[in-house]
Symmetry: C2
Subunit: 344 residues, 2 copies
Amino acid sequence: MADVTLKHIASSLGVNASTVSRALDPNKAHLVSEETVDRVRAAAKQLGYRGDRVAGALRRGVTGTVGVIVADLANPFIAPVIHGIAQSLAPRQMLPMVIETNDNASELESSLDHLLSRRVDAVICAGARFSNREVLEEAGRSTPVVVAVRGLPNSVLPQVLHDDRAGGAMAARHLLGFGHTRLAELRGPDDVGNFVSRHLGFQEACAEEALAVIDLPEVGERPIREAGEHLARLLIDVHGDAMPTAVFAHNDLMALGALSVFREHGLTCPTDFSIVGYNDSSTIDQVDPPLTSVIYPGIRVGRSAGEVALQLISDPTEPAPGALFPPRLAVRKSTSPPRRTHAT
Amino acid sequence: MADVTLKHIASSLGVNASTVSRALDPNKAHLVSEETVDRVRAAAKQLGYRGDRVAGALRRGVTGTVGVIVADLANPFIAPVIHGIAQSLAPRQMLPMVIETNDNASELESSLDHLLSRRVDAVICAGARFSNREVLEEAGRSTPVVVAVRGLPNSVLPQVLHDDRAGGAMAARHLLGFGHTRLAELRGPDDVGNFVSRHLGFQEACAEEALAVIDLPEVGERPIREAGEHLARLLIDVHGDAMPTAVFAHNDLMALGALSVFREHGLTCPTDFSIVGYNDSSTIDQVDPPLTSVIYPGIRVGRSAGEVALQLISDPTEPAPGALFPPRLAVRKSTSPPRRTHAT
DNA sequence: CTGTTAGCGCCTTCAG
DNA sequence: CTGAAGGCGCTAACAG
């Protein structure tokens, strides 16, 4: 029954397909006599008519879809963002088309291409690495493109971000406020905007106190738990003799990885070390110990990105606003003052 | 530049659009002289041609999309399922179109309608309630429909599920094995397949030991943390004088909610009570105490659902197989033998 | 091997 | 208020 067309309704009623089309479109129904509208609606219902959005899209040139590029759907942090995007599109009967890049910079280009060949009305890229900037900007010349979540410095594209730099600084000040003087970072990839910003913010805040941050020779390739474990081991190997008392992990997954490695090595949190995570993931308040974490407002970022996309669609000439959401800190048990190093 | 069409290439080369179409389709390129193929490809590349999948979809009658209905994108448990679906579709250049129902039975119908009007090649419903059965089966008569995650008893539709009944039984036997005799359930909605099955499995396993499960007069309206809190309070109010020593929460979110309420009331886990969750969510192994949980293989369920959909698309007449994934139990610290009730 | 023709289903002129 | 005609971009069938 999915193949009932306007023509079928039209011929069943002895009118023209155009009339049916108008009668069924709320914005055009006023052009048709009330009586006809009623007859058409009745027939449509009775025949089980269901408009063909594909045909409509071809004719009108808009598909009612927004492409969404994400690094990795399995990372729980991205779900609220997609949720927010979907929420902002739903009232317009629009749908996100989500595609993953496996956090692989080169896959992004083909994903983008795929979305554009499906004629999405706009693209929201929530999984950019720095090297993707030009490809995205190129696409932006013909289709609205919004950069979200992972920022692209110096890009002309509108960006909807969380203020990761302020977040990094906030983490640092929280730890400094406890009196920590030996701090370290477990960094995410250095070609991804939010991790670079978190790093910058953290370094700056420490520099203000004239404190040098303990340097690790590596960053996490991908911001996942294994990277946290790896970097934690590295920290122990390289600085085991003079471990930091405070650690800023660039996200909660990495923090959890580090936590378990430190624990294996007999270190207790927060007695031996404090740790701050990022994202305030859903159950992170109930881990042991409850993790202090910078709150990432994923839903709001998603919703805002969707709104910017909609605005860009309705008026591509007007420069889009962009948005920057401030961080907040959820303070929990994983951070405390450093244990006093007893002078003999 | 997104508006380069086959015609443009054709006229720039002095050939017919059909020739260009054939040359660019890997399955048809052999019908065209190698030389022409090369010229066409070169021109396509140079002009920045990008095929229009919307037009192609209209012409061919297939869109290369699979509609996916979920209850709630914000529930972290669903992300792996979508990930799995996307994975299975990717090699075919197909994309999932995900739509949320807000776990609202009546919204499902309009979501389904929306997807069908976009002419998805198949629908995977991962968010069904029992009352949606007929609507889905009706849709299944004209479009392939796969029921996933949340089963529909007695439905003719192919179903890709996890064996929740065995999972419920497994939770029960684990607790019974420790010698618990006062067991209770914190149930999810009673019109959602997996919760009903978990309930049945749990009850059956207890009945085998001739043990009655403590009854709560309510189930969770939605399977979220707040429901766990609510039911835990109810348990305390109604059975506070003789609390169960073992609790089976129908998912991890509810378990965490219950855990915090019990804790507020001075009860310690696992000393005062054991608790089992469901899904083995991503950070649940690091909460306090690490939660014993039935493992839900979301990615595999998603991947399998995608594969069944693909098979149904390629041959709608052949009855589709369906799948049932067995549960496993992740045993952690939240379960232990009951504290000996000292006889005076 | 290539061109011609004819739509897929819809919506938007342009005429009445 | 309604009808007729044309075409969005592509591809399949049919000729040559």
